[in-house]
């Protein structure tokens, strides 16, 4: 069935609510209303308000409560309305969810799934546009999953809910209703007709930590996730460079084998993310590539990222990495 990302996520939750009475779905405005992005639409009606419900506006409270439920044995799936608003819960995620199993030596664990729309391109300004993946990737004990299309979104969300580790599931909100290559002045595209928009209605899962080669190529490797997968692909096509594009799908666990294999083959690597560059996840990727592929590299790895500024409303398209910048970076990568 053709689905957009919102529908695919809704379908994943639907399947899991149906299969497992220990799965609970909650967050701000997710119950009756079905979420501000409609990801939990109709789930309360279908499964009752004990399975899918609204919470107080308290991100710290949402995550703390979820950890308690998960420690008891339930499988809470929590929505944080925007990834930007996860910060009041950061202590719960870092000091509690990430370490509960380790510090109790397996006595307790916190199999929570925290869903949050992230990323820019929607004129959301400073607090509806950020990409906070790096601050989670840095925390050992948390897994961070970022799909880029409807098929992956559903399969990865199901795998996340089934996973016994705490998961930060970041949803590229700019891709919810259609793919976006960064051409903001072109008409909106729907998911229908795109590869990966054909989504099975029933259960399936995609293992966490397996990257996907979106495009095979020989001259350079491009690493991306979420919205930037689409921007990177457009940039590759603009550049004319025969680049291999890898959609990481989850940054923790990271499919380092696929990255290594590709970079050793191409000898060049470009990393693209929306978040600010300095200490962004690209820094980790770049270090790994250098450590593992140093003698295969023909050029220094390039990181293309958001500028080191807060997300600036009026300058959305000056900030948001564009296909043009991807193409320019690829050409630079090939200069050496």
């Amino acid at each position: 069935m053709i689905m957009n990302i919102v529908q695919a996520l809704n379908s994943a939750l639907d399947v899991m609510l149906a299969n497992n009475s220990e799965v609970l779905v909650f967050g701000e405005d997710v119950g009756y209303f079905g979420g501000v992005f409609r990801v939990t639409d109709k789930l309360q009606k279908k499964y009752g308000h004990h399975r899918c419900f609204d919470t107080p506006i308290s991100e710290g409270g949402i995550i703390a409560t979820g950890i308690g439920m998960a420690a008891e044995g339930l499988r809470p799936v929590m929505e944080i309305q925007f990834a930007d608003y996860i910060l009041p819960a950061y202590d719960q995620l870092v000091s509690e969810a990430a370490r509960l199993r380790y510090r109790s030596n397996g006595d307790f664990q916190a199999p929570i799934t925290v869903r949050a729309p992230y990323g820019g391109g929607i004129f959301g300004g400073q607090t509806h546009s950020q990409s906070p993946e790096a601050i989670f990737a840095h925390v050992t004990g948390l897994k961070t999953v970022i799909p880029s299309n409807p098929y992956d979104a559903k399969g990865l969300l199901i795998a996340s809910i089934e996973c016994d580790d705490p998961i930060i599931f970041l949803e590229p909100k700019r891709l919810y209703n259609g793919p976006f290559e960064g051409y903001h002045d072109r008409p909106l595209k729907p998911w229908a007709g795109e590869t990966d928009s054909n989504v099975p209605e029933g259960y399936y899962s995609i293992p966490l930590g397996k990257a996907k080669v979106k495009r095979a190529g020989s001259e350079a490797t491009v690493l991306a996730y979420g919205t930037m997968v689409h921007v990177a692909l457009a940039g590759i096509l603009e550049s004319g460079v025969d680049a291999e594009l890898i959609d990481l799908r989850s940054i923790v666990p990271l499919d380092v084998d696929t990255i290594e294999e590709s970079v050793k083959k191409t000898g060049r690597c470009l990393i693209v993310h929306e978040a600010s560059k300095f200490s962004g996840f690209g820094a980790e990727l770049s270090a790994l590539v250098t450590e593992r592929c140093f003698y295969y590299l023909s050029a220094p790895t390039i990181r293309l990222a958001g500028w080191d500024v807060p997300y600036p409303h009026a300058f959305e398209w000056d900030y948001f990495p564009s296909p043009k910048r991807v193409a320019k970076s690829l050409k630079k990568l090939l200069e050496n």
């Binding site: 009756y32 107080p56 509806h128 300058f315």
Partner: protein
Amino acid sequence: MLYFTAIRYKMPESDSDKGKHQRFFIPEPNARPGDTPDFSQLPISPVGSVARPQTSASPETLRDLPFKLIRTLNEDGIPEGEWQPEITIAVVRKIYEYMRLTRIFDTKMFRVQRQGKTSFFLASRGEEALGVVPSIALRANDMCFPTYRQVGWLLARGYPLVKLINQIFNNSDDPLKGKQLPVLYSARDFGFYSLSGNVGTRFGHAVGWAMAKAYRNSDDIAIGFIGDGTTAEGSFHEALTFASVYKAPVILGITNNQWAISTFTGLATNKDTTFASKALSYGIPGLRVDGNDALAVYSVLEWAADRARHGHGATLIEFFTYRSGAHSTSDDPERYRPKEEALLWPLGDPIERLRQHLLTSKAWSEEKDGQLHKMLDKQITESLKEAERIGVLGESKPDVREMFEGVFKEQDWRAVEQLKELGL
């Protein structure tokens, strides 16, 4: 040690989970779309029935106040009871004028967003008194830590309309230089603290600002606001702890407009209590006031400000009101609450009620009222035109270099290099 446990599937549930989780309580509002709104259980005191204590009264003598509702204007627009403010008709007219200006501004700008001239807008319909009255009741040097629904504060202090719209358009004359979402203003010279999209986080700043004033031995005070829904955040409770521990000269206001996007107040607090009563556990006074009664709002603010200025510490005030419009331009309230709920709100419309009050005095007439409306409408139409001439969102914007300004006081090498990458 078994670290990896395969998930154990339980029996699938049927469509309804009725009866299976009786012990698990989930609150629900009493009306959703299609239901008839029922406000009969609202804790509303009769007009003029609440006694007004001395502003120096000790908190333990005030413990009944958070469960009452302070009201002054009766059904005919005539003030009653001890909480009638000492206020001149000129000040009442000023309040009325700016409340109307706020409504016209909101209505027009909402439409402007719908026309695609900006990305986002948020109105204060039904809550105009909560921006305008504090702005007028407090002093020029007092600082307000507002919610996003209090543009009336700025309007009542004469903030230029064109400048406000320039911010909404993020155009080349935007006072915030394109860095912030529309309506998240900042205007220090007008006593208006910088807004941000994340709710609640500035409530504690109001306390800190007030403590700074106390440290300087000034009698300036601060006023902070938070939405009903946002009282669930830790920042609300943290601010109250600090305010009460340090007897900070601050007024902490809750704008209880009954809704937090689609979420009713029963999810922010237990239905059997009031927001104002949270003050009790912190040992500070808690007042509950009809937020649609501008005179009552003025009066409680004077009371709390007097306490704060005279060293009696913080007051928590719940402004009991109703968000009669959508949460924002991204919202459609008909999806989660009865359409007619706003019209049935038992405490009426704040502007209409003040208008009625004004009309009982000789100073006001239907004719003057009509002229006022025309004048305000014209003011806004002209300001809008002027701002549109500068440019709506996307047509005109500040210099891109602005994107890197203000991250640090002085730019480091990153900004320098990144500007170069942008070709600047």
